[in-house]
């Protein structure tokens, strides 16, 4: 039995959806894309300027065609990530603009080698089922920043990718890049290797870019991941439930636009909400209430049979310290117990602004624990205990049993050297390292052991040439040196 955290009663889910439907009618949703407005109006919505009043029936119809599950594939075409049901998987947080310098602890502007390092570390850690385009490479013009990040990830990773575009024009480029490995656009639609984040703007707005992004993803049948981000108390109602209703209205209206563009295209009920810190005016990702909003909206999504995503497992601390550990660990566990299919956020500090490979390594331990927890307590032996007591005769001799040897690594999650379970003498003998020091060592070890994916030279050349040509058009004579 997979243990579960449910914060909402069925009655409350029904009320949330009911009020979300009411909001979509009044005040309606501001849809700033003419194409999306036209589709909604043709389907029976009414509009006043760019505000569209969307009747429930349009949403209900869209929900009939959304797939309740789909897979993401690796570069070799193997299914590796399962969206749907209560599958729980993790990927590093994305779009950081800083990287934590492990030696000086400065938050430095991030560049290509930093992204390469993050991707390599995540590639080595099985706790990460997918990669993300984890940081912005600041030496590259913003106009090509989205597909350039994807290029770096593709060069260093075989895993499925959580990504997103910065402009609608760049989407086809990113499809073609992924298509190089999938075997063309059609093959990419059949066996997608990436999911694309798409964000409404709180409260209740679909920007021109966001809505058109949804339409193009639907047409290409490349999975879209809705990232609604109510900011409770600032850009959303202060109550957790009020924010969950807003999340539902923004997400459902997005699903309507998406399914009208191409019924049956895959879409994920995701988000990155937060409460609003009333002292500093910041958006704490590590707050318990932030995680509660996530768990609650995931439950709403599950009631509609939709695959789910959330932004958890990140911290607002500025270094990889006790706060970072507790916020990341606690929220990762909440996400896992909520049965969220893809949980993004690992490695992130400072309100998702800063990535750290060392934190990624620490977070992998928390994720290992979370995954162990959701694997649950299982019956592995015929009798639970009585047969295991045969021959024991009141002695602590279970270590000698064959069953101990057979089952210990299934029953126990075996942590890496980042987790200290040494005796105090052993710990002292190894130099009394704290968590961060152990994480730095392990990061170095992982980077040394990393091996790049074996692509054919033609594939690699084709990808590089494609990106080089586009970069040249954007005014870059040569691509930055990779990691």
């Amino acid at each position: 039995m997979q243990p579960k955290l449910e914060l909402l009663s069925l009655d409350l889910i029904a009320r949330i959806l009911d009020e979300a439907f009411q909001l979509m009618q009044k005040p309606g949703i501001k849809v700033q894309s003419a194409a999306a407005r036209e589709m909604l109006i043709a389907a029976g919505a009414s509009a006043n300027g760019d505000v569209v009043n969307i009747p429930e029936k349009i949403i209900r119809k869209a929900l009939e065609t959304t797939p309740d599950e789909f897979c993401l594939y690796d570069r070799k075409g193997q299914p590796k990530v399962w969206y749907g049901g209560d599958a729980v998987q993790f990927d590093p947080g994305s779009s950081g603009v800083h990287i934590l310098d492990p030696d000086t602890l400065e938050h430095k502007t991030s560049y290509t080698p930093d992204l390469a390092r993050v991707v390599k570390v995540a590639e080595m850690l099985p706790e990460y089922a997918a990669q993300s385009t984890a940081i912005v490479c600041n030496e590259v013009p913003k106009t090509i920043g989205d597909f350039y990040r994807l290029y770096v990830v593709l060069m260093y990773s075989q895993k499925p990718i959580v990504t997103g575009s910065f402009s609608v024009q760049n989407l086809p480029i990113m499809f073609d890049m992924l298509g190089l490995f999938a075997g063309g656009r059609q093959a990419l639609a059949d066996k997608p290797q990436a999911v694309f984040d798409v964000c409404p703007s709180p409260p209740l707005i679909w920007s021109d870019f966001g809505a058109n992004n949804l339409i193009e993803l639907a047409k290409a049948r490349v999975p879209a991941q809705l990232i609604s981000m109510p900011l409770a108390g600032a850009a959303a109602p202060v109550t957790l439930l009020g924010s969950v209703v807003q999340h539902a209205a923004e997400s459902l209206s997005g699903i309507a636009i998406h399914q009208l563009a191409n019924p049956g295209a895959p879409i994920v009920w995701g988000g990155a909400p937060a409460i609003f810190d009333m002292r500093h005016g910041t958006t704490p990702m590590g707050a318990i209430e932030t995680a509660m909003i996530d768990a609650a909206y995931a439950q709403v999504g599950k009631s509609l049979n939709l695959p789910t995503h959330a932004y958890l497992g990140a911290s607002d601390a500025k270094v990889v310290d006790a706060q970072a550990g507790l916020e990341s660990g606690v929220t990762a566990i909440i996400g896992a117990l909520a049965g969220i299919n893809m949980i993004s956020g690992a490695g992130m500090l400072d309100f998702l602004a800063c990535q750290s490979p060392e934190k990624l390594v620490v977070d992998a331990e928390g994720i290992g624990m979370a995954l162990r927890l959701v694997a649950g307590i299982q019956v592995r032996t015929e009798t639970l205990a009585t047969a295991l007591f045969e021959g024991i005769n009141f002695k602590g001799d279970f270590l000698k049993q064959k069953v101990t040897r057979d089952l210990f690594s299934k029953e126990q999650h075996l942590p890496s050297s980042v987790i200290d379970r040494d005796s105090i003498r052993g710990w002292q003998a190894s130099g009394s390292p704290d968590t961060f020091a152990r994480a730095k060592t392990r990061t170095r070890e992982l980077l040394a052991a990393y091996e790049p994916p074996c692509y054919s030279p033609e594939q690699e050349r084709e990808l590089r040439t494609m990106v080089e040509n586009l970069a040249r058009k954007a005014g870059m004579d040569a691509l930055p040196k990779l990691g």
Partner: protein, 216 residues
């Protein structure tokens, strides 16, 4: 009697109670109290107190914002009487506020606007995603003393510099002080783009604005 009324005015701001503030402002007009006195001895006392509480961690943003809204309501109620008497509230300076082009984050900027206007500045808030040309146009139109530029993205921060460069080009830079704000803004950035100052929060922004126009 009048002292009691001033006390109530200050309290209405502390409570963030716009209705009470409006009622008290009307009461002041009816009893012939000078509106300027009602502001300086009554309402402003509350604003300052909330600001101080916030600065030392005892008040939170919702209290700050509601106090600002109540102040705005009180001043608006007193406005016609001030006109009748041919007086006006002392304005510390005229501020043009905007979130720069390409950036739609407005919470911080709006907060600064509320607190500046509660503290006696004339605020022209142009909203979000405002092109440089539009900011400059407004600065010229209202003969602004200050410009406040918000940017929450490292990618849009550069627009803060663009506005400063443009002011420079037009020879307005000496007259118009520029404050910048937003999560990615640092002291280094302020120096690099030669802005006149930045603040971590809305209360700090009020202090900064007062310093820049030479009130304190």
């Amino acid at each position: 009697m009048t002292d009691e009324l001033f006390q109530k005015m200050s309290q209405s701001i502390l409570d963030g109670d716009s209705d009470a503030a409006i009622a008290l402002a009307k009461q002041a007009i009816d009893s012939g109290i000078d509106p300027l006195e009602a502001i300086s001895k009554g309402f402003v006392v509350g604003v300052n107190q909330v600001g101080e509480s916030f600065a030392c961690g005892q008040a939170f943003l919702p209290e700050l914002v509601m106090a600002g809204e109540a102040m705005k309501a009180a001043v608006a109620t007193l406005e016609p009487e001030m006109q009748k008497r041919g007086t006006s509230r002392q304005v510390y300076g005229k501020v043009v506020l905007a979130t720069v082009e390409g950036d739609i984050h407005e919470i911080g900027k709006t907060l600064v606007g509320t607190m500046l206007s509660a503290s006696g500045f004339q605020v022209y808030d142009l909203g979000v995603d405002v092109p440089t040309a539009k900011i400059i146009e407004k600065v010229k139109e209202v003969d602004a003393d200050l410009v406040g530029l918000s940017a929450l993205l490292t990618t849009t921060m550069v627009k803060q510099k663009e506005v400063i460069d443009e002011l420079d080009k037009l020879g307005l830079r000496k007259k118009v002080k520029v404050m910048v704000g937003g999560a990615p803004v640092t002291k280094d950035w302020v120096q690099k783009i030669e802005a006149d100052g930045y603040s971590e929060d809305a209360i700090g922004a009020v202090g900064l604005a007062k310093r820049l126009v030479g009130v304190v």
